[in-house]
Each structure stands twice: as C-alpha cells, then as structure tokens.
C-alpha cells in the first residue's frame, strides 16, 4: 500500500480499494455476457487505523452521507465511518422510504427542501440507482381546522417556492381511487399534495453512499463497536473499540436510536427519549397506489413499493423502548385506520412487521450541533423523519465538521435551542417525546 501526503490529506492508492467500477447498462450487458464475474465489492471493508482526522460513529444514512460529503464537497478524506454491525441495518434499513419537505416552519421547509433537491440529483452523483421516485405525497384532511393548518403549511411552502397544491375531494378520489371518501367515521374533505415528494429505495441509499464514500477514500469499518469516547479535559481525543483505540480530531455521533448511550460515554445527556416506530409491508400486488398517502384522522400512512407491496406505518408505540419490535395495539390501530380509509384493502394480507428505534427529541425536530465536549459533533434527534433528511443532514453535518460553523440551512438545529427557548415544535406538543 502506498501513501501520498498532500497537505493534511491522506490518500490511499490501494489495489484493494479500487472502486467497484462504474455502474451502467452497458457494463451490465457486458458482465451479463461473461457470467457477472467482473463485479467487485461495492465498498472496501477497511480495518481501523490508529488515527483519522474525523471519526464518524454510525454507519447509517446520516453517518455515511456525512462521510461522503466530507470527502467530495469539503476535501476531507481522512475519515472513518465505524458501525458496531454491518452498515445500513439501523433505521436507514427500516424506514418507510418517504421523502418530502412539507413542513410548517420556514427553517424546516428550507432544510428539508434542500434535502429534496439533493435527492433529485443523487443517483447520478453516486452512480447508484437509489430509485428516487417523486410520485407525490398527499396529506388528507377531515375537518376545517385541519384544512386551515394545511393551508398555512402549503402557503408557507409556496412563499419559499416549494411545490404545494390543494386538492378538493374529487381530485383526491381521482388521484387515489382506493380511498373511500365518505364512509369512514371522519369523511375526507380534501388533501394537500406535494408533487415532488415520494419514495426512495432505502437500502440503496446506504449502499450508494457507502460505495461512493469508499471510492473517495473514506474507511468504512464494520463490526466494530465504540465502547468509550476518549477525552482529555473538555476535548475529545478519539474512540475506544474492541480492535483498539482510534485517535481523531473530530468525532461525530450519528447513531439515531442510541444517541443517548454515546452521549453518555462522553459525559452529557441529550433532550431525547428512544421510542419504537413500527412499519409494515403487505403482500405484493399489481399497482393500486401511485402517491404516498397520509391519513388525517388516524395513525396511517402508506405507499406502494416498486415490488408491489404496500408499505405503511402509523404512530410510535408511546413509551421508551429499545426493543426494535412493535406492540400489538399500535398494529391493530394502524390496520383499523388503513382499512377505514381504504376498505378495499380488507383481503390484502399484511406480510411483515418490524420496528426501528428512534431518537424522539423534546421538540420533534432534529439536532445537528456541537456538544459540551469540544471536537464532538452530534447528528441526532431525527424522530421519524431522518430518512428524508439524509442528504441535507449529511451535508450540514459535514459543513459543521469542516467549516466549524453551522450550515446556514441547519443553524436552527443546535443543541442550545432548548435552554434558549428556540424550540422547533411543528405540532405544538411540548417537551413530551412520547407525544411527538
């Protein structure tokens, strides 16, 4: 292995690290003719070195995206991403794949729409088909006060030149023939559509970012648990793993669901409780649903994957849990809501159910921030909205690490906001994570 020092950047030119090659239809055809023996590892499975400039704890969507942007946007390649297991099996692999930017607060609209814009160019940038599919996200409403809230939300988005449309009942029915407008306890009055919202294939996001980051020189280290955060006074020095200590100038935590444990290792607490969110998929059927649909009168949102299964979910189970499995009452609730909205689903079979553990923050909004420990950056508190924010979250975290100051679109996501009284509470529910 040869190394070249270029300023403070370390570039590996290692035969083993040779990128998995370009993905394209032409290559697919070529490989098909020769038995697909020419494909190689999508990402290099690195062994930890003794020192990096940046260590990112957490090989999920946020962590991998941060590493990728550090390397390709900010030129910092002396980066390691460490995960206690294989990458991408946390929340990035468990979510319901929805992307959208239809938020209330202008700061959130700005941030999440930046993410949406990054999604729009991502596949070509990563050369990995993540199947970004902007088929539209539709929120239904059932009361006039809900209509007013959505009107406010949509108008706020339109002020910022983000797409939002109001649909009357007939238009809702035309867009989603499956919906029963009238026969549920709360008839549908209309809906709000964000045409640019949609879905993305979640596994492909983790793999795509990992592959591109690895090709750019980032070390991706799997099956290596961080057991302690090493500090000297009030400054971070690195991390401790079963494979030895790793020194770093900057340590970034991106371990949604377990943020409090890692923060605990660094000696501080977070405004977070961990909760389980369940998700479900039905048996695959021929296309019946084009848009991503959210019910306004119960816990239920649904989309149909490219494989044909209906992917749906509801609310959090409502108490602290690291269990990664769901409880029965919420499953019944979700099914009842779904069936009320779409009676035609009655005989469709629910195939699988799983859960992810999420950082539920005290105001329902995420945290990308410095921490009490100098050199320790945290990316956490995503509640159930982390997946759609992967590109912007990664970019903003990389910006914070590289430039030492918050990305202008993410400045509102700092940890100090709670004590300062600048909470970003979209739904106005207060400091009750179990309610958000």
């Amino acid at each position: 292995m040869r190394r070249q020092r270029t300023g403070d950047r370390l570039i590996h030119t290692n035969a083993q690290r040779a990128a998995s090659g370009r993905y394209s239809a032409a290559r697919l055809i070529l490989e098909g003719l020769t038995g697909h023996r020419g494909w190689s590892r999508a990402w290099h499975k690195a062994s930890p070195r003794q020192r990096y400039r940046v260590v990112i704890v957490g090989g999920g969507g946020q962590g991998l995206a941060t590493a990728y942007y550090l390397a390709t946007e900010f030129g910092i390649r002396d980066v390691a991403v460490i995960d206690k297991g294989p990458i991408g099996l946390g929340n990035v692999g468990r979510n319901t794949t929805i992307i959208r930017s239809n938020y209330f607060r202008p700061e959130n609209v700005g941030f999440y729409d930046y993410s949406l814009q990054l999604w729009e160019g991502l596949e070509r940038r990563l050369n990995f088909n993540a199947m970004v599919s902007q088929r539209g996200t539709l929120n239904l409403f059932h009361t006039e006060s809900q209509r007013d809230l959505f009107t406010r939300r949509a108008n706020g988005m339109r002020l910022l030149s983000v797409d939002a449309l109001a649909l009357e009942r007939d238009a809702v029915k035309a867009l989603v023939p499956l919906v029963d407008l009238d026969n549920g306890r709360y008839p549908v009055l209309g809906g709000f559509l964000q045409p640019r919202g949609g879905t993305v294939r979640h596994d492909a996001v983790a793999w795509g970012y990992a592959r591109a980051a690895s090709a750019a020189g980032v070390d991706i280290i799997e099956e290596c648990e961080v057991t302690a955060i090493r500090r000297e006074g009030n400054a971070v020095r690195g991390v401790q793993t079963p494979r030895g200590p790793i020194e770093a100038d900057v340590v970034c935590l991106a371990v949604a669901g377990h943020s409090s444990q890692l923060a605990g290792m660094a000696g501080f607490r977070l405004p977070i409780e961990t909760h389980v969110l369940q998700a479900f998929v039905s048996e695959p059927v021929k296309p019946v649903l084009d848009v991503v649909l959210t019910y306004g009168a119960g816990h239920f949102y649904v989309s149909q994957s490219d494989k044909g299964g209906l992917v749906f979910g509801g609310g959090i189970d409502g108490y602290n849990s690291y269990g990664q499995r769901g409880t029965l009452p919420m499953a019944e609730d979700v099914a009842a809501a779904g069936l009320t909205l779409m009676p035609a689903l009655a005989r469709l079979r629910v195939l699988r159910q799983w859960g992810g553990v999420m950082d539920m923050s005290m105001d329902g909004s995420p945290i990308i921030s410095r921490t009490p420990l100098s050199g320790l950056i945290i990316n956490c508190g995503w509640c159930y909205g982390g997946f759609k924010a992967i590109p912007a979250g990664g970019m903003a975290t990389a910006h914070l690490i590289a430039r030492g100051e918050a990305h202008p679109l993410a400045a509102h996501l700092d940890l100090e906001r709670f004590a300062a009284g600048r909470t970003i509470d979209e739904r106005g529910l207060g400091p009750f994570p179990y309610a958000h």
Binding site: W207, V288, A346, R347, A420, T423
Partner: protein, 979 residues
Amino acid sequence: MSGPSRIGAGLWTRPDEPVEFRFDGQALRGLRGDTLASALLANGVQLVGRSFKYHRPRGIVTAGPEEPCALVDVLGPDGREPNRPATTLPLREGLITESQNRWPSLHFDVGSLGNLVARFLPAGFYYKTFMAPGWAWERLYEPAIRRAAGLGRLGLTATDHPSPAETVHDHADVLIVGAGAAGLAAAHGLGRTGARVMLLEQDAAPGGGTLLDRRWQAWQQGLSAALAGLHNVRCLPRSCVVGAYGHGVYAALETLSPEESIAFGGIRERLRIIRARRLLLTTGAIERLIAFPGNDVPGVMLAGAALAYLRRYGVAAGGHPAFFLNSDEAYQTVFEFAAAGIACAGVIDVRPESRAADHARSLGIRVQCGAMVERVEGARSVRRLRIASLAGGATALEADALLMSGGYSPASALASQLGAKHLWQESIAAFAPLLDPHIGRVAGAARGRCGLKVAALDGAAAAESIAAELGFAAGAVSPAWELPADAEQTPLTPLWEVRGRGKAFVDLQNDVTTADVRLAHREGYEHVEHMKRYTTHGMATDQGRIGGLVGSAVLAQARGLPVSEVGLAKIRPYVQPLPFAALAGPETGQHFKPRRRLPLHDWHEAAGASFVSIGLWLRPLVYARETGWDAVLREARAVRRSVGITDVSSLGKIDVQGPDAARFLDYIYANNFATLPVGRARYGIMLREDGMMLDDGTTSRLGAEHFLITTTTANSSVVLEHMEFQLQAVCPHHDVLLSDVSDQWAQFAIAGPRSREVVASVASGLDLSNAAFPFMAASAALLAGVAGRVFRISFSGELAFELAVPAAHALRLWTALLAAGQAFGIAPYGLDALNTLRIEKGHLTGAELNGNTTADDLGMERMLKSKGDFVGRMLAQRPGLRSPERLQLVGVRPIDRSQRLRNGAQLIVPEAPSRSLGYITSSTPSVELEGWVGLALLAGGRERMGKHLIATSPIHGETTTVAILSPHMIDPENSRVRA
C-alpha cells in the same frame, strides 16, 4: 408419464361429496376436504403460476402455508383476493380461482420472454442501471417496473358488505402451538393436571406428522378424543399463532371454516389475543429444498408434501416419481408411495449408504446412493433427470415428478420473535431455538428432536416441567396409548446445492438463484442481512421458509465459513400473513372511533343542525343544512341584537376539592387563584412546564375548598392528565381530589342583550341584577326546578350567562330557556356562529392556542403572577420566549372591505415576499363591522399596530392588503359583558 392424479381415499377427503370449482376458467371437480392444490393435482394440473421476476412456469411445491409458488387470485363475494396459497385454500362449491402474474394466459405468458435476457437481470441489477437519461426513471423505467411488479391483483372497490372480522380475548395457563405428536402429548399431560390449556393448530385438523404415518393413527385419534373430553383444554384448528408480543401476550389468526363462517354472520377470521402464563412451542420442523438446476420445474415438490397429499387427500404427485433425498426420514414418502402401488422411478440419495436405502431396495425400488440430481429437464413439467454420481459419471432417469428433501429446519419463527437464541445442531444441520424458561419451552421436532415417538415423549416431558413450575400437580404422564417405535435411522448428510448448468433456486417466489447469492458475496453484501436485502432472498410471502437456510449455506460456502456462523436473516412477524381486516378488527369504517353525543343531540338533529366532529364529539355547527355563511351570520346577528342559546356541554369540566385546592390551583395556573372569592369565576391561564400556553378556560370558586375548572373541548383530557400528573407526582403533599365531571353536566350559554331576562325566568331564587350578580359571578341555583349552577361568563362578547344542570335534565332546562326566550326571538346558534362572535371579540381557541404561543404572545403577560411558583414560570423566562420578534396576537381587517380573509394566509411585506412574518389563524365575515375580520399571529405584532401588510394565500391565488389592529375589535371596554 401420467403426472399427478387421485389414486384413492385420503384421511380428509370425502369421496362421496364432489365439489365443482374453476381454475383459470377451466371447470374442474374435487372432493370435500380437498384444498385447491390437492384438487388441482388430482385433476393432473401441475402448472399453476409464473415466478415473480423471470415468469418461469411454476407448480405446487409444498402442502402448507410455506408455499412459495402456487399462489392464486380468488374471485369471491368480497371481490378479488390475491396471493392465496392454493395449498391452504379449502375447496368449496363454486370456488373461482385464477393464476397470477401472467399475461395473456398461464400457458402463454409474454413475461416469460424475459428469460431471453435473464442473464442481464441478476439480483440487484436495477441498482446498476436505469439512471440515464435523468427523466427516464420516473417516466419510463419505473412505471414499467411497477406494472411488472406484484403478484396478484387487488380489487379496487370494496363490496357493499365487506366481510367483518372479530377480535376475541383469551386467557390460558399454557398456550401450546402445534398439535402434532409433541403438542398432543403435552396438551394431554397438562390437561390432566387441571391447567387451562389452549392448543392451537394451523392446519384444518390436529395430528401433524402423526397423520402421515399410518401406525400412529390410533394414537392420534385416541388422544384427540381424550382432549375433547377435557373441558379445561381447548383445541382450535385453522388457528395460527402469528405474533408473540411479550408479557405472555400472543396473537393468533383463526380462519373460520365455511360452515362456521355462515353460523357466525359471515365472519371469516378471528384475531385471538391470548394471554398465557407459559408458551409451549411444538411447531415441528419445515422441510428444506435442495438447490439444483431446474429445481423450479413444475413437478418438483418437497417429499413431505407429496406424502401429505397422498395420506390426507389420496393424491399422488406423480405416476412415476423420482426422489432426491439426504435423510432416512424422507424415505417415509418412498415407502408410502410404494405401499400405494405407485411405480417409483428411483431414489437418489446423496449418502453413500443408509438403512432406509437398504429397506427401499428390499421393496424393489431402485436406489442410487452417493449420487445427486444435477439437472431437471422439462419446461412445463418434469420429464427427465440428470444424475451425477459422487464417484464420477452421469446417468439419466425418466420421471414425471421429483420429490426432494434437503432436511428439516425447526419452525422457530415465534421463538425468534421472542428473541430466542438459536443454536446450531449438527444432527439436523439446522438451527434450533432456545426459549427463556420464564416464557416457556420448545419440544419435539421444533427443537430438533426427530421421530414421532421422541417428539411425543419430549412434549410430555415439557408438559410435566411446565406443570410443576405453575404449581399444578403433575399427573402420571404415561401415555394411555401405545407409542409406535421410531425406526433406527442413518444420520442426515447436509446437502444444500448441486452445481451444474442452469438456474438453481434458493427462493422460488422471488427467483433468487445460487448464482445471485454468490454475486451478492462477490459485491461485498456478504453479511446474511445484506445478502437478503440485495437478492431479496426470503422476502417473499413465504418468508424463505423452505429455502432460507439453503441460501445461508451457499453464502457460507462462498465466505469459507460454517453455516452456523453465517446464520439466518432475522425472521420477522407475522408467522403467516394475515388479512388487513383481521388485524383491524371490528372498529373500522363508521366504528373507527366512538361518537360522543351531547345530551341534546337528538334535539339538535331534529332542529336541523349540521354536525361537525370535534375530536370524538359531534357538535352542532349551524342549524341549517345548506352550506355558506348566510345561516351562520343570521345566528350570530341574533345574539348580538337580542339573545341566542348554544350547547357547550362538551367542554371539559374538572371538579377540584380539598383543603389545598386553592393552593394547588395557584400552582397549576399562571395567574392568581388563591385570591378568588367564593362565588366568582376567573379566566385561567394554564401553562406547560416549558412556558407555553396549554389551555385557557374559566375556573369558578364554588366554596372555600371547592373549585370547578372548565377546559376547551379538544384539550379536556390533556388538561386532566396534566393536573393529575402534577398533583400526584409533583404535589403529593397537597390534599386535593380531582374528578372529571365533563359528562355529568350539561351546559348552555345564553348570550345577548336580552339574556338576563331569559335566564331570570328560569332561575329561581337568584338575584341576577348587575349589582348582585356581576360579571364573572358564579352561584348554585335552581334552574327550571333543577339544582344547577349559573356562571356569568361570556365567550361571545355580549352579556351572557352559562347554565349547568346534571346531564339527565338537559332537555328540561333547554326547553324552559327556549320558552322563556321566545318573546325575544331566541334561537339556537352553533359552533360557526360562536366562532364568528368570539373572533370579533378577540377571544381565543385552539387556532391561537396552538402549543407554540406564550401568554405574552397572546397579550396576557400582565395577568401572570409576580410572586409564587407555578407550572411553566421559569422556562417562560427563556430569552427565546421573550423575544420581541415572536409571533404575537393581532387583529386583521382587509383594507378593501369587499375582500375576504383566508385562514392560513401568510403575512408578508412587499419588500420581502418570501419571508413569512406570520399567518392568519381565524377569520370571519363580521356581523358588527363591515367586511371580514380576523386574528393573526404576527412577528412583533404589537409594534406593527396600524401598519398595512399583505395577506397572501398562493394556494388559493389570493392576495389582500390588511391593516393590523387590536384583536379586540368590538366593545374593547367590555361594557356589554359588564352590563
């Protein structure tokens, strides 16, 4: 070559009861007791579907819910039902079924042309392409992929009478899952101790493996009869435990038989939620496939399944079948076929020798030991096999079916849900679960104990152990019926795949081949979870039951690791797919949430009210059926001019009593309550601990130690919980009792200049003059002869009184008030009119109290206590909550009186059109002023009084210039309410 056919009687089929059914338009006949699969085989039908990706011809592979290929659409009274496994679909008269995933027909499927380019479509190919040109993914590629995806078709419209489902709750001491040898023995053992036992069997009848071995018939029948006689044992067939939720809670899907369904009003399934102290898993083991080229050709079936078809239904899977085995256990099928007189083509056993092979030869069956099938030839059905000897050389064998068995894996899905560790057992070459003893036990083949007698004894032993733990006297567990001995067996030799030319499948539904698994490994997706997600192995409706371990083994071989180290991908609920309707239960549609009706609901309805749902409540919106503002404004105008009456019974009401009641309320409210005199009410500002407004409402002091709190309708349960938490957790030393009396009291508001006269007519013994009963007075009173309460409070901004009586007397008081007010033209008004009135007055609802507003934002800062602690006091002082740029409550009026206001319109200045300064929260045409008026939350609103801003609603294409003014637009001195 004859193919499959019915050759005799079966245990479950009744030869004298034929049943007509259709498959792909073809009229066929089966027998009562058949499944669709057994009936199709009986009719010689082998081709039943097309695979997901390559559209290859597929047949029937199993005899149970683990079926990967034979999925059909059922056309019935509930519309089109997709993805039903033919292997578990009971045959009934007039059943109409269609194969899936093919066009135009099963025999000629255009999709199969994909096989020509199959080499370019390995696992994960879509990640590598479809990226250019940029527009093409969404307009071209994805729609095509989505159209090709999915198996069955869902009918889009629900019928008029969708089949309901039922949720039933059960309690038991022990839940036994699986009524095979181990389960039956355990149920009997436990039943005799008096324990309450529930024995659930997913199949149509109990027996499991004992049904496949004729020697066990007597035992099985005797035991089943004995169980039927034990009243503390309930045996439920057609019931699959689909989920395990901890704390002894399990969910089971019970499918009703057609007769039962009719008897129970058309219910098709029940969701049983079972609470048991202990679980006993006797779920048996599931047979594995072997991955060899052509293992997906119709006619290739699991050996155990073929045995089930023969024993249960009298159907032979082939007239001239071959067998490909690696265990003695699988020979049972061979011997049974021979006993039935079927001419077997031969047995191919990978082991160099075995006892069973010897026995087979003794029966005149041709056995090739130390050999493997390396290819199946035939497209729509099995024609010929290519057999390779381990010693070298190859032969061919003609056959019309190939019955394969790669071993048996414990059915441990439920154990996985409970977090059980799985240990590798060499003897069965599979993982067996280890259950926490506090949860229960595993017995029989489910933990790798092979052989029916071994299983029965294992089940009985587990029963004894559980009984002892639960404190039941263990009866003598000697079985009353003779247990046939298990044959001595030569051990199994693990066999996962045979390499050769052609596609060898590990997942028959998702078309995942051994080459795909190796490709995944090559590309670095070598962790079993990555391999699963990359290839989609095990992600089909059968969840990889018969091929999951095989895929892991192929991966292990590629990685150079033992299978035990590679493991299985995590098995997730549900053990079997369950229909939405079953999981949803009966509370759907109109019954999704309860309806809370006001005591006078019927009166309002008869009076022509349109209702609106506020949470669970139905409240009158306006007393007219037509939409539009006319009726609303008419009602509001009547209030301002004379008098109106409205039903506010849904308000939350909390009774607070005790020596520390005043002290407690002083802590709960941000303004003073300890100083409230008896007989007075006060507007209460309740904050959350983070300083935001939680709720407002009026609180009255009915006695020195007695207060009554009212809350908004929407927030009543939130406020009650908040108070209960604060009282019990933070102020436990306060001697106070809280009672929710929301439903106990009906309450009406009588508002308008003539309201005093109306109230005086019904209130006896109470001086309602302004001197005696000033604004905010509260008192007990006799109302229309009923003991009630009067509060002089006003939401509308007019002189007003609220009257409360016990809910049972609501109609009496209401009627009396209407009579008393007739002279003044009294009429009821609904929520819309109330809203119009309160907006003009500047009173607030949830539109302004949205959880993000402080008391200061809403202009109530002066009302806060300066001394004394209260909930939210400290955090309200955070700098962010005191910033002058915060959104503050203001009133708005369009400059052009002819223009309307829109709720949700954003407020901007022309110089910064994309910067929201705030938004309109409530608006209405005014009855007092010209044009519309509204309330808004505006950044630095109080500093902008008198300024003009733009209210813009791009959604509606509306833009209006508005003036910012005080939110109290009428009677700001409150002269009317104080009259």
